[in-house]
């Protein structure tokens, strides 16, 4: 095996392990952050500046996570490392994560449907709930499968 091949493989392994930790962290933070949003937010209009900033930050964060779930991320690394990061197993795990995300979204829709019988729900809150449960479910499943692959069970 040539040194270049070995160095790329080692870099890929190292970055892949970091990525798994990062996905876990993002899954927990994103879900907890949204839990905080639902616990503390007050449905008042117009929005205060602080709320606008908070919502914009959340939207950028959600879009970045969706981009990661769609492409596998690793955009800052070279093509060789990225190909290792998103090899066949990782792509399969990511697709399994997306499938979990679909069921998370369906579950959130059912939850909103039943809640709407007891309390009016604003469309924006529905979006928050659906995105939180779908992205959260996708990230947790993806991270769990990647971790399982590393452990080897």
């Amino acid at each position: 095996m040539d040194p270049q091949q070995r160095s790329t493989a080692e870099a890929g392994e190292r970055i892949a392990r970091k990525r798994v930790r990062l996905i876990w962290l993002q899954a927990v933070l994103f879900t907890v952050w949204q839990g905080g949003f639902f616990a503390t937010h007050v449905a008042t209009e117009p929005l205060r500046n602080v709320d606008t900033v908070r919502i914009a930050a959340w939207l950028v964060w959600a879009l970045a996570l969706l981009g990661m779930l769609l492409t596998g991320g690793g955009w800052v690394w070279g093509r060789a490392v990225r190909r290792l990061l998103n090899d066949e197993l990782s792509v399969h795990n990511r697709h399994e994560g997306q499938r979990a995300g679909f069921w998370g979204a369906a579950g959130a829709c059912l939850l909103v449907y039943f809640l709407s019988f007891y309390e009016p729900i604003r469309p924006r809150d529905v979006v928050h709930l659906v995105l939180t449960l779908s992205i959260g479910a996708a990230l947790f499943r993806y991270a769990w499968l990647e971790r399982r692959g590393e452990r080897g069970d």
């Binding site: 790329t8 392994e13 892949a16 190909r83 090899d87 066949e88 692959g149 080897g152 069970d153």
Partner: protein, 70 residues
């Protein structure tokens, strides 16, 4: 169409024959070590392309490396 049977493999034995670690084989086949690990343990069923690549890397035929059981 339902798929019956379990995919078994001789990846570990063939790797040992050539004195390769999982990391060595992974680098030679252009995949991550965890892919080799999960294929070896029967957790992940590789695509035909990956099966062909692994067989070529180990110098064996695909049906010498993988077979269906049950």
């Amino acid at each position: 169409m339902a798929t019956e049977g379990v995919l078994r493999n001789r990846l570990k034995e063939e790797r040992a024959r050539l004195s390769l670690t999982q990391a060595d084989l992974a680098a030679m086949a252009g995949v991550s070590r965890k892919t080799i690990n999960t294929v070896e343990n029967g957790v992940f069923v590789p695509s035909t392309i990956l099966a062909l690549r692994l067989a070529a890397t180990l110098g064996v035929t695909v049906d010498g490396l993988f077979w269906l059981e049950g």
